[in-house]
Structure formats: structure tokens, C-alpha cells
């Protein structure tokens, strides 16, 4: 029973980490698009 509890804890933590990885990847792709550099961005 105790072992099962620890397995659940580990799975929950892994699920949280996996979800965070996806959210961060999705979010950051909007902020740091490839090729977005000072020289490629026209000024007004």
C-alpha cells in the first residue's frame, strides 16, 4: 500500500513536469521565434 502511494506520487510529479514542459515549449515558441534578431527586424 505504501509502495503504491509512492508510485502515485512519482507519477503525479512526472505528469506535472511533462505538462509544464509542453506549456513552456508552446509559450516560449511565441516569444523567441527563430530568426528574430535585431537586423531582421525593421525599424519604424
Amino acid at each position: 500500500m505504501k509502495k503504491l502511494r509512492w508510485i502515485v506520487v512519482v507519477l503525479v510529479v512526472l505528469a506535472l513536469l511533462g505538462g509544464a514542459y509542453r506549456i513552456v515549449a508552446e509559450r516560449n515558441s511565441a516569444f523567441f521565434s527563430p530568426g528574430q534578431t535585431a537586423t531582421s527586424m525593421p525599424m519604424h
Binding site: Q36, T37, H44
Partner: protein, 493 residues
């Protein structure tokens, strides 16, 4: 079945291990904020260990009190408030409920930063549980009550300090982000003053505060400024200028669902959802330019223009517009910003017999070109916007150019209040109108994003600007300006 002493030893060890892990993950999270020096947080682990050893050998109550209070601080501050609330719950809460407005905004950070928060929150929950079990074995009620009160009060205080965006409704902060130092500083300063003028003039029911941020001269500086506006100042709307920074601001506005009105010429910045541009597009400028050229009977055009992204946009749009008319480009020369001798290209252009010399450049090249054209006796000069920024307008006597339409009253008020600041026609009225559009939205008490998305027409200092529903670009018809007696003014008719 364990006796009390055994239980005490076991839970002391487990609570210590959980606290040590919380400190490890917290210190890793803080490495992203403060650098490697943050690993020094782990020295707290040594303190906790010493207290436990002291307590084991002497049973001195001070040792266990220090252990309990330091542990409470670690669990509350780093585990529950920073790791659980500002890290884990904020990340997931804002992802699944973006409109809830409960969780604090958080800047884009690497996965490691967020993962450390999740791990710190999990270990802190274990530290809380094992710590409680350990202190219960000591049979001193205060040793349980005081940490519990500190955890509850500390968490409440910490969460309130992390500040959700929904809470501070009494003053509405509007961010203004433009470069106020570097080469574009004159434009930026004029921009800021235009927004300040709009705020001074406007009578409102709600209170507004402008938060000025310098977007600087590099993407790195712009990122730092916009993150300060969004994540520290909690602005509820943004007025920005200059496409260079507008492109960096855009994803922040989208991620945090903040309306961003940008006085920018890069069409792609406007997405019609949270980001909007409100300056004539290159197509609008070139169309108006060709109308005027046709009216003046111009058929042959020579182009002398600096290579620069926004100028490239104008030249591309103008070239397209020329192909739709009976005019033609008889000469075109694009030069780098560092050019100082234009005489050869002026001679080549003259040999092509143009009706007008269409020039566009930034200073110092602009005024050097103007001087050399004037020396060559050439005065049939025209431009798109560029002549507005000439510091020697006398060199361009009789020249004409397209630029934004400007309300005379705004110009008079601006020049009276800021006599030392040049009136930049292609920024000031749009900055002024952007602020007013946002304030209209806040005053209506509707959701500000919904309100701005619903604005398809606004009449203000820049005349009437219009936007097709769903488009991110407010369009307007530029005016034709002429230079007479060394001063630019809108042509009549």
C-alpha cells in the same frame, strides 16, 4: 510500532531531507534569477542540520525552535508561495484559465525554472507533513501552533505580494514603450510627450497612470523593458512605437492578453486580436504619393533611397504603385547609411531626365543628399515621410512629401507646451489617439481587449483611422506636405 523517540528520530530525518530538497530546488530556481550565487541558499541546510544535532545532543528548546521557524520560512516562502503558487499553480492556472486573473503574470522562462518550482512545491508539502509529525513528538503545543500560524499568515501575505492582476483596479496603468535614448530618442521623447498631453487633456471617471519604459537600442533592452512593464508594473494596456520594439512587444501582449497599440509601419505586428498598428502602411503612403505625382503631371521618377527596412517597404510599395499608373521609374539607386558623396548618382539620375527626384534617407545622409541636390540646382524633390525628420528643411525648399494628417489644434498645443520638442507628424497624433482609444475602452468598463477589437473607426488627432473587422491595422489617408520658407506644412486642397 515505533515509540515516541523512534518516531521523533524518523520524522526529524525525513523533515530535514524534505527541507534540504526544497532548498536544492529553490536554489536551482533562483539561479535563473540571480545566477550561481543563488546556490548559497543551500547553506540554510547546514544551519538546519546543526540545529537538529544540537537538539539531539542537548534537547535544548532553542535548537528546535530555530529549526521549526527556519523550516517554516523555507516551506512557506519557497515552497508554498514561490514554488506552488507563483510557479506550479500559476503556470497551470494561467494555461487552463487564461481569463481568470487570479494568478500573477510570469515572464517566459526556461523549463528548468518551472520544473524547479514544481519539485520545490512537492518537497515542501512533504517537509510540512514530516515537520508536523516531528514537532508533534516533542509535546509542546506552542511549537505546533506558532509555525502553523506563520505558515497561514505568511502564505496569505506572500500570495498578496505576488500580486494578481485582478486586484489593483483603482489605478489603471498604461505602459508606454518607445526608445528614449539612442538614435531614435527624439522620436521616442516626442511620443511620450504626446501621450502625456493626451492624458492631461482627457477628463475621466477612472484614474490612469502612465508607466514609461525605454525600449532601448537592442532587442535585449526591449525585452527587459517590456518584461518590467508587464510583470512588475502590471500594465493593463500598452502604447508603443517603432516597429523594431513593437515586434518584441507583440508576443508579450498576446501571452498576457494585453491590448497593444503600436505606432509601427510593419503590418505583421497587427494581428487584430491584441496587437494593432495605427500608422499609414507603406501601401497607403505610396498610393497617396502617386495621386499627388499624377496631379502634378509627373511621369518620370528617379529614386535615391537609403537601404533600410522601413524605407525598403516604402520603395517596394511605390514601385508596385508606379506599375499601375502611366508613370515609370527612370533611375533607382539604393545607398548605405554611411554614404556622404552623392554627386555621381545625382549626375546619373539627372541624365535620365526625371520629373521628380524621390529621395528617402535618415540623417545624416538625408541632409547631405539635400545639400548636394541643392548645389546641383535640383529642387524638384519629393519623398515619403523622410523630409519630416530633416534638420535642414531649407535645403528642400519647394519639395513635397506624404506624411500623416495632423490636427492643427493638437500641433498648436504640443508646440506651446513643449517648444523644445520637434513635432513628429507621423508619430505624435497616433500616439495621442492610441491613448484615447484605450481610455475610451477603460471608461466603457467593458473588457479592454473586446473593446479595442470592436473599434473599427476612430476620429481623432490623426483624422479618421479605419480598420476592417478582424484586421490588425488601422489605415488612414496620409496628407501631402510641402516645404516653404524652410517649414513643412500640409498642402491645401
Amino acid at each position: 510500532m515505533m515509540n515516541t523517540a523512534q518516531e521523533r528520530h524518523l520524522f526529524a530525518r525525513l523533515s530535514f531531507a524534505a527541507l534540504a530538497l526544497t532548498l536544492v530546488f529553490t536554489s536551482l530556481r533562483h539561479v535563473y534569477r540571480f545566477g550561481w550565487v543563488a546556490l548559497a541558499f543551500n547553506l540554510v541546510t547546514v544551519l538546519l542540520l546543526l540545529m537538529l544535532l544540537w537538539y539531539r545532543s542537548t534537547r535544548h528548546s532553542l535548537a528546535v525552535w530555530i529549526y521549526a521557524l527556519v523550516g517554516t520560512w523555507v516551506v512557506t516562502g519557497f515552497g508554498l508561495v514561490d514554488g506552488l503558487w507563483a510557479g506550479t499553480l500559476s503556470l497551470y492556472g494561467r494555461y487552463f484559465f487564461p481569463n481568470a486573473g487570479i494568478f500573477p503574470r510570469s515572464a517566459p522562462r526556461p523549463f528548468g525554472f518551472e520544473a524547479a518550482a514544481i519539485l520545490a512545491s512537492v518537497t515542501s508539502v512533504f517537509a510540512l507533513y514530516y515537520g508536523f509529525r516531528f514537532l508533534r513528538t516533542i509535546s509542546r503545543p506552542l511549537l505546533l501552533i506558532v509555525p502553523l500560524v506563520v505558515i497561514i499568515a505568511g502564505s496569505a501575505w506572500g500570495i498578496s505580494q505576488k500580486g494578481s492582476i485582478a486586484g489593483s483596479d483603482d489605478v489603471i496603468r498604461i505602459g508606454v514603450i518607445v526608445p528614449t535614448h539612442g538614435p531614435a530618442a527624439p522620436l521616442g521623447r516626442a511620443f511620450v510627450r504626446a501621450v502625456e498631453l493626451a492624458k492631461d487633456k482627457r477628463a475621466t471617471h477612472r484614474r490612469y497612470e502612465l508607466v514609461i519604459a525605454d525600449s532601448g537600442t537592442s532587442p535585449k533592452e526591449t525585452r527587459a523593458s517590456i518584461e518590467r512593464l508587464v510583470y512588475q508594473n502590471n500594465v493593463k494596456a500598452i502604447v508603443g512605437g517603432i516597429s523594431l520594439s513593437g515586434q518584441i512587444v507583440k508576443p508579450y501582449a498576446t501571452a498576457e492578453r494585453i491590448p497593444h497599440l503600436c505606432v509601427c509601419s510593419v503590418q505583421a505586428i497587427g494581428d487584430g486580436v491584441f496587437n494593432f498598428t495605427n500608422i499609414p502602411l507603406p501601401e497607403d503612403e505610396s498610393r497617396r504619393w502617386m495621386e499627388e505625382a499624377q496631379r502634378r503631371g509627373i511621369r518620370k521618377i528617379a529614386i535615391l533611397a537609403q537601404t533600410y527596412p522601413s524605407i525598403d517597404g516604402h520603395i517596394r510599395a511605390l514601385t508596385k504603385e508606379v506599375t499601375r499608373s502611366d508613370a515609370r521609374i527612370v533611375y533607382a539607386n539604393r545607398f548605405p547609411a554611411s554614404t556622404t558623396d552623392f554627386r555621381t548618382m545625382i549626375d546619373e539620375a539627372r541624365r535620365a531626365g526625371p520629373d521628380v527626384y524621390m529621395i528617402e534617407a535618415f540623417n545624416p545622409a538625408l541632409d547631405i543628399l539635400g545639400k548636394q541636390l541643392s548645389d546641383a540646382g535640383i529642387h524638384n524633390v519629393a519623398s515619403i515621410v523622410a523630409l519630416a525628420i530633416s534638420e535642414r528643411k531649407d535645403l528642400f525648399e519647394g519639395a513635397w512629401y506624404t506624411d500623416s494628417s495632423v490636427d492643427d489644434d493638437l500641433r498648436a498645443r504640443f508646440e506651446a507646451k513643449y517648444p523644445d520638442t520637434p513635432f513628429v507628424a507621423h508619430m505624435i497624433p497616433y500616439a495621442y489617439d492610441s491613448f484615447n482609444i484605450l481610455v475610451d475602452g477603460f471608461e466603457s468598463r467593458r473588457d479592454i481587449g473586446d473593446y479595442v477589437r470592436g473599434v473599427t473607426r476612430h476620429t481623432g488627432a490623426a483624422g479618421t483611422i479605419e480598420r476592417a473587422a478582424g484586421s490588425g491595422n488601422f489605415r488612414s489617408r496620409p496628407a501631402v506636405w510641402v516645404i516653404t520658407n524652410g517649414k513643412a506644412h500640409i498642402a491645401k486642397g
